[in-house]
Symmetry: C2
Subunit: 428 residues, 2 copies
Amino acid sequence: MTMITRVDVHDVRFPTARDGDGSDAINRGDYSATYVELRTDDGPTGAGFTFTNGRGNEITCAAVRALAHHVTGRTVEEIAAEPVAFWRSLTADDQLRWLGPEKGVIHMATGALVNAVWDLRAKLAGAPLWRFLAELPTAELVASVDFRHITDAITPAEATAILDKGLVGLADRRAELDRDGFPAYTTSVGWLGYPDAKVRALTRAAYERGWRAMKMKVGGQLADDLRRARIIRAEIGPDALLMMDANQVWDVDEAIEKMAVLAEVGPYWIEEPTHADDVLGHARIAAAVAPIRVATGEVAANRVIFKQLLQARAVGVMQIDACRVGGVNEVLAELLMAAKFGVPVCPHAGGVGLCEYVQHLATFDYLRVGTALPGRMIEYVDHLHEHFADPVRARGGRYLLPTAAGYSSTMRPESVARHTFPDGPAWR
Amino acid sequence: MTMITRVDVHDVRFPTARDGDGSDAINRGDYSATYVELRTDDGPTGAGFTFTNGRGNEITCAAVRALAHHVTGRTVEEIAAEPVAFWRSLTADDQLRWLGPEKGVIHMATGALVNAVWDLRAKLAGAPLWRFLAELPTAELVASVDFRHITDAITPAEATAILDKGLVGLADRRAELDRDGFPAYTTSVGWLGYPDAKVRALTRAAYERGWRAMKMKVGGQLADDLRRARIIRAEIGPDALLMMDANQVWDVDEAIEKMAVLAEVGPYWIEEPTHADDVLGHARIAAAVAPIRVATGEVAANRVIFKQLLQARAVGVMQIDACRVGGVNEVLAELLMAAKFGVPVCPHAGGVGLCEYVQHLATFDYLRVGTALPGRMIEYVDHLHEHFADPVRARGGRYLLPTAAGYSSTMRPESVARHTFPDGPAWR
């Protein structure tokens, strides 16, 4: 039995704002993490985090502290035996639920804690999380999903059928990923804060390194968006994929009008064309801009929002975030719903450690749930990996499968110490 | 010019959990408030708060502190001159927005601050907030609304037309409310934590005091819900209104099945039949349970959720919460959309100070926006009013109009001191 004896919370912030990295139409900040370590009596440390944008990271830290008593003093074995009961102890806490429910700060804190538990479980099993999940019996995976409020979209029986079918050909798919890696796209070429020359140079360099799918930010002046898009399209040619991300700045009709113009450069998807909560708005936009796909999900709060996006046929690409929703358990629900509705999942990454997280989720999805590669890609942003003990490895526009045990969520102790806010050397 | 020089934040908690007051299918806690005071150089203090459920109130306090720099050092006059710019400084802060966006902890903190500004403005004008709002020129009200992300449901021109029309007959409606008060319903008779005999006694007493609309909690065992509902219906007779509130415990199909049984007692509405984020689910339920109305809103995160509830015809009653959304500015948007779609607003109240807040909003709504009383009621819960400087007054099942200047949001200093967590005498 492995007992979780203590939850340590670290307010870790990286000074990214000064370089314009990560700038888009709405967000500009110092990429940060509410970093959580689950100390055990005689086992490894479980590591998890949620990503934030700088100021306010102390709020998610406070939320983790408020929830931590549901984790401290429990054994990994009892959590694994009753995963939904454990998950609900966090998401349905009878005092803290009011602060969400299941959204925003309190749910992000849940995500950090729940992911840390899964990291711990995978470390104890000696397997990378993707393999740990892919090898779990169907019944155990199904028992990890809280079906409350989603039974109108997927039932435990349907989930069981999907996961059982995912056992067929599993070894072949794994061999394929071992050999080729997982398809990816890069977001590092077209942040709004970058001048045209930098966009052109980064695009050219990325293409030369093998990237054939690139994402740019839009949502500034339409003429600027179009000019930058033409630069990228000219560099990558007609066959490579160009994705656009508006980070929610447009109203519904505005999104439809703008995309009619930007369609000139042949975008593959338009991401976050309007407010993330607007399921009906996304459905209208999706119908209007087809065959351009609508993508969203990085700030979709929970499985109930994803459920509706799928039911309303509002998305052609689903972009789960590994730590905005309530961790692996909720991601499982979302992957299963996406598979049922036939929508590929291309996880949100970037930020701090999101690439490290989602490579496991996308790999598990392909191996055991979605089982087809076309349309599946993981976002890749090339920064801050050096702060992780088991950083992502990308080659030729693909992620190489992680091999170390756990969820790749462990940060290097010296990085945590250096960037702890406000007392670490990086902030003094 | 009145300068806001300082923002004081108080973690105020009342030990309500021990009595079962406020218990329902999901929430049970110590009613609390993140209480905010805007100190001015030579004017009154603006008071605002957001309601929470006990543990975790320190998280919303931290969120207010993170946002406070947008308020400190600004004059009331400059905020009044550019209300949307001020509102967006809070809701679209380029680092903090990620923590919502516009939902949960960070948005509740915005609500506390924005409401405090409106309290201050009304105090400076020497008017209760309802009258201050009702007498504002249409252009100023319209300029207070952030139409971003809702123009597909309501435009500034449509809002202008509604508010101009609301000037017709305004004096008559005001005289009517001065004379009769505002219709209300009580939620104090049927909390889940109460035994049958207590439900019966409270119902009888409420009926004798003049209440003709009462709400009970459901979502426990169906047989228990039905038995308690029959007790209340037997006490109040066939003509009084009986409302039911499931606090989100049901799945969509489950809600439809349960309400087919509970329909026996003739409920007027079913409130929060399923997860609050589930617009499409509410729409299905609404179609299935008609003529019973679906009501929701107390945890609807923002105007984009309300917009969709209206667009999807998912609600027959809209229950705004005064301090979960971003304060008066966002409530204005929601009242205007409800009026356009012809859905009455019955604000959520109870908790700490919500009755004090929403009497102003409901009164303004009737006077200037909705202009018809049928279907309009304010929730009334009879606890914790004694902690407010200008507590609600209810008589014969109606609210009497508040007369003191401001938003009735000022707490008594001795109540704040006594209940400050964790160092106040009530908690030591």
